[in-house]
Symmetry: C2
Subunit: 222 residues, 2 copies
């Protein structure tokens, strides 16, 4: 039997750092020093270094020879680019899912939407949604991943996963009032409806509509 020592495995370090990076637990543009994180995780600098390399692979930290690691800067331009590629992949993947998915996929999509919708209504109803943000993040991710889950292309899914993570990282998540939430409820319902109707083109449009406010360069609010 394994004893819980308080030390963390590398996977935990990876997941923990990934979460911190995506949920803006670091200042954008700040250095990420392996030597400092070493103390936090109770391991050597090399171990952290490796994890950082793996995170750089996903694009969540930037790596530069002899300069170490940095949290990517936030920029309207980058958000636009990521949104653009995300829509491209997500619309294509969803269209493929519609063709290949069948009842099983429709069931999973409905389930994912049900959960997401539930959270969003709770957020919409309350004054202080801060405690629900984490759950909402997870549900949103699951819904959008379910959309493309039956596309049949691991390559496309991996690609989407990377873009999605970087997209998230570019958004500001701190102290916002979730004004967009009622709009989002509508969007997600529209996407679900279009997908279940089997109308590929309509679904593509709904996905595009859902994300198009991030293509203007004006919004950094979610």
């Amino acid at each position: 039997m394994k004893v819980h020592t308080g030390m963390n495995d590398e996977i935990d370090i990876y997941q923990d750092l990934k979460m911190r990076l995506i949920s803006n637990g670091f200042e954008h543009g700040a250095k990420v020093r392996a030597e400092e994180l070493r103390k936090v995780y109770g391991c050597s600098a090399s171990a952290v270094r490796e994890v950082l390399f793996r995170l750089a692979a996903v694009g969540l930290v930037d790596f530069q020879e002899q300069k170490g690691f940095r949290v990517p800067m936030r920029s309207p331009q980058k958000l636009i680019e990521l949104t653009h590629v995300r829509v491209l992949l997500e619309a294509e993947g969803t269209a493929m899912s519609i063709r290949n998915g069948g009842v099983d996929w429709e069931a999973r999509l409905t389930a994912a939407h049900h959960k997401l919708s539930h959270i969003e209504k709770r957020i919409h109803a309350t004054d202080d949604p801060s405690g629900l943000i984490e759950i909402w993040f997870a549900s949103e991710k699951e819904f959008h991943e379910t959309l493309i889950s039956a596309c049949g292309s691991e390559t496309l899914k991996q690609m989407h996963s990377r873009v999605y993570a970087q997209f998230r990282q570019q958004l500001m998540v701190a102290d916002r009032n979730f004004e967009f939430i009622s709009q989002n409820i509508r969007h997600h319902a529209d996407i679900l409806e279009a997908a279940l109707s089997g109308d590929e083109q309509l679904t593509r449009e709904k996905i595009h509509d859902h994300l198009k406010r991030h293509l203007t360069g004006k919004t950094m609010g979610d």
Copy 2:
């Protein structure tokens, strides 16, 4: 003054390994042991390990926790998936280049095509094109990268670069007779012509036509 010691910098290791991986210098599915490559490059295993992590970022090696690195297996399915995503990104990027590129881009594209066309004609004319393969690879890459070079999205270009490398890795390059070359000459010319005409939709189709034989699951020959 620096003395040439025969030791290689990490960047050299990276480039060298990348080339070996793309040009099928390893057996597919084979393990890539840092401990073995250490001797080849005259450095420690950790240094190689880091390089391998960076290559795993591009998808040229697979990494698994506690299992080390492996050359990705070749499979018709994977080639189809990579081709699909590649067409998606390349068609989109080229369409954007057509909109944003201007004369400068057209000039660069014409130049890239000129070089590529030159090589392809030489290959078409000779009996033993083996000495020209490397140059052809580089020219083909440059042409396709030039297509999307004016798209204005670093994100899209990076994504494409990854997919392109993996796509290449999936192809068999050994001892083939370049029967496809005359077909390719036509394809590349068609793409150039469509792009210069400013017809986005036509260009998308020509790019798709160029790569569609890899979408059938029957071709592994280039």
